[in-house]
């Protein structure tokens, strides 16, 4: 089940793929910044502020759907006995860790955007509120992971936590958006960008989504790799711990491997 999966050093090809993933996403992001800052036109009402549109929605998309989704799905895969493998635990952890950064960035870019647009850092808008709750859910997951325990117990516990929290996300989403929409007055101007988004802007935005997703994928691979390496270290440490543990007592008189039992 949990046979020690030992990642060999990355093959040349893997290294190359990962590296180009990093380079591509970096170039993509640089391109987005360039397009966003210099090529696309400023907005009529929002002026240069509109340029945040190329960063903030892609970040939010990654945080909300990609990161959390991957974490929940891989947790489910860990829980399902047929597909159980340490890889899914690793992936869930990596995704949640990178995801929490993106969620924080969503909040940060949104707040920075909100300050000039709304005149305040924060409003109790549906999306904002559910993003804040999502951040707390993710922090809770990470806090749970940090509780000292054996790898198996930690994997099980955090997979369950991810699933239990995961089923809540849609409920949060609906209830929070009804909360806003069913309420009498939307005192806050909703950040509906003009539907006349086109040309360079649309392409830049699309590129933003792609580049941000690639960046996420790259970070995810790195975190996953780090988790895997940490597990290799754990396995080595376990080997050492095993021989240290054996040294606490004399050698077994029937050779190890044969169950000491009736008739032996």
């Amino acid at each position: 089940m949990n046979a020690p999966a030992r990642p060999a050093p990355w093959s040349r090809r893997t290294t190359w793929v990962v590296r180009s993933l990093g380079v591509t996403s970096a170039v993509g992001l640089a391109l987005v910044v360039w397009l966003g800052l210099w090529v696309t036109p400023p907005d009529k009402t929002q002026h240069d502020l509109v340029r945040l549109v190329y960063l903030h929605p892609p970040i939010a998309w990654v945080a909300l759907y990609l990161a959390f989704g991957i974490a929940v799905i891989s947790s489910l895969l860990w829980l399902w006995p047929r597909t159980r493998s340490r890889q899914w635990d690793r992936l869930a952890a990596a995704s949640m860790e990178v995801g929490v950064v993106f969620t924080a960035l969503t909040l940060a870019t949104g707040a920075i955007w909100g300050r000039p647009t709304w005149g305040v850092w924060w409003v109790w808008d549906a999306r904002l509120t559910s993003t804040a709750l999502l951040l707390v859910l993710q922090l809770g997951y990470l806090a749970l992971r940090r509780v000292p325990s054996s790898a198996e117990a930690r994997a099980r516990r955090s997979a369950l936590a991810a699933v239990i929290a995961g089923v809540d996300v849609p409920i949060v989403h609906f209830s929070v958006s009804w909360w806003r929409t069913l309420h009498q007055s939307a005192t806050v101007l909703n950040p509906d960008l003009s539907p006349t988004i086109h040309g360079a802007m649309a392409w830049t935005l699309l590129l933003g989504f792609v580049a941000m997703s690639l960046a996420f994928a790259w970070l995810l691979v790195l975190r996953y790799r780090a988790e895997a390496l940490a597990e290799v270290l754990d396995d080595r440490a376990l080997d050492e711990a095993l021989s240290e543990r054996w040294a606490e007592g004399p050698d077994p008189s029937p050779a190890p491997g044969t169950p000491v039992g009736v008739g032996s």
């Binding site: 806090a143 749970l144 117990a153 099980r156 239990i164 929290a165 949060v172 009804w178 009498q184």
Partner: protein
């Protein structure tokens, strides 16, 4: 499963009947939360009456954290650690039993807190049926989700702090929907459409009850 659920619920309720923790400590605590809010929000009556439904549900939420903590403590303090697991009880039954006991305790508590909120903030009830429906559905959800998280944080030796952190954000929809449903039932809100909110509460309860029945066994192993 049902037999085990009954057995566990009866045990938890007997312990509660004997120690009176929820009745004598958690219920006053919930009323206290109401009073503290009244203090924090200032002495003006208008805003307070507006806020009554929300404050009721905040108080219930915090009280449910304590009730769940108590319910988990019964299984883990000192000596009874591992007791439930060793007893060979069906995990789904254990989950339903514990959740049912918590729900029952919370319902009693809500009567107290609800009465407190109505009196303190001087609200009047427009449609009591809706009020009760929302409370029942919300309570079932809180008890189910709470019991799940109680088991999750049990093995960690940090139950006191981990449980509220994990449980409260998940319970946020109950707070929200419960508040709205109460607002509709009390008529403090312009729109009186409480029904969709009750439906959210029902969905929440159903989802977590089902989830609990399925995963509680795995949860108990995770320590």
């Amino acid at each position: 499963m049902w037999r085990d659920a009954l057995l566990v619920a009866a045990k938890d309720l007997r312990i509660e009947a004997r120690s009176r923790v929820v009745l004598n400590q958690v219920a006053p605590f919930a009323v206290l939360v109401l009073v503290l809010f009244a203090l924090a929000l200032g002495p003006d009556r208008g805003p307070l009456r507006q806020a009554a439904p929300g404050l009721f549900w905040v108080a219930v939420l915090f009280a449910s954290v304590l009730a769940v903590q108590r319910s988990a403590a019964v299984e883990t303090t000192d000596s009874s650690r591992d007791g439930l697991r060793l007893s060979g009880i069906d995990p789904a039954g254990a989950f339903l039993g514990k959740a049912a006991a918590v729900a029952l305790e919370l319902l009693v508590l809500e009567v107290v807190v609800g009465a407190g909120a109505l009196v303190l903030f001087g609200s009047s009830v427009r449609s009591p049926g809706a009020l009760v429906a929302a409370s029942l559905a919300g309570t079932a959800g809180l008890a189910a989700a709470g019991t799940l998280y109680g088991a999750l944080s049990t093995g960690t030796r940090m139950r006191e702090t981990l449980l509220p952190l994990l449980f409260l954000p998940v319970a946020a929809p109950v707070l929200l929907a419960g508040t709205r449903a109460w607002q509709a039932a009390l008529g403090t809100m312009a729109s009186s459409a409480g029904d969709p909110w009750v439906r959210i509460l029902l969905v929440f309860a159903a989802v977590y009850l089902a989830l609990g029945v399925v995963v509680f066994g795995a949860l108990q192993e995770a320590s």
